[in-house]
Symmetry: C2
Subunit: 100 residues, 2 copies
Amino acid sequence: MSKFGMNVKFTAKEGQRDALAQILLGAAAVAEGVPDCEKYIISVSDTEPDVIWVYEIWSNAEAHQASLDQEASKASIRQAMPLIAGVESCQIRPVGGKGL
Amino acid sequence: MSKFGMNVKFTAKEGQRDALAQILLGAAAVAEGVPDCEKYIISVSDTEPDVIWVYEIWSNAEAHQASLDQEASKASIRQAMPLIAGVESCQIRPVGGKGL
């Protein structure tokens, strides 16, 4: 079964980037306990001050979908929504490389 | 010192995605021997057939810059250039998460 990934660019409302990053880091902390979640990495941009990138790799697509149905995920999304101005989300399929 | 990342979207010329992916996987194999390169992950897109994503994390920005000056990197770039229709490159600064 193929691994499954998401490469997501969040644009926070002005001044809300760091608050949004904290919520996403909280979601990453929950992901520590989910074996099928292999990576959930939060990055900021030094060139786009409102932008946060989340890079997720899951052992399969079903595990990712199942995570969205968890109450902890729904709570994070509810917390995050008011801070978000935009989302661009790309589904990816990792094929190899270092650190995969 | 902050970690340094690049999130790069390559669009291959039509029919050239898999050939370009092989070149990038070769660059990732070289990166295996570079301790300051922590991740160099190649992904494709099932929704955009010509797209390849490369996700790089380096222990610092200087190590990334130094890698570009290596002959192996220059050779990969020369090989890849004729296969590439477009590149969108975002510099990122990883701040935390799972699998970082």
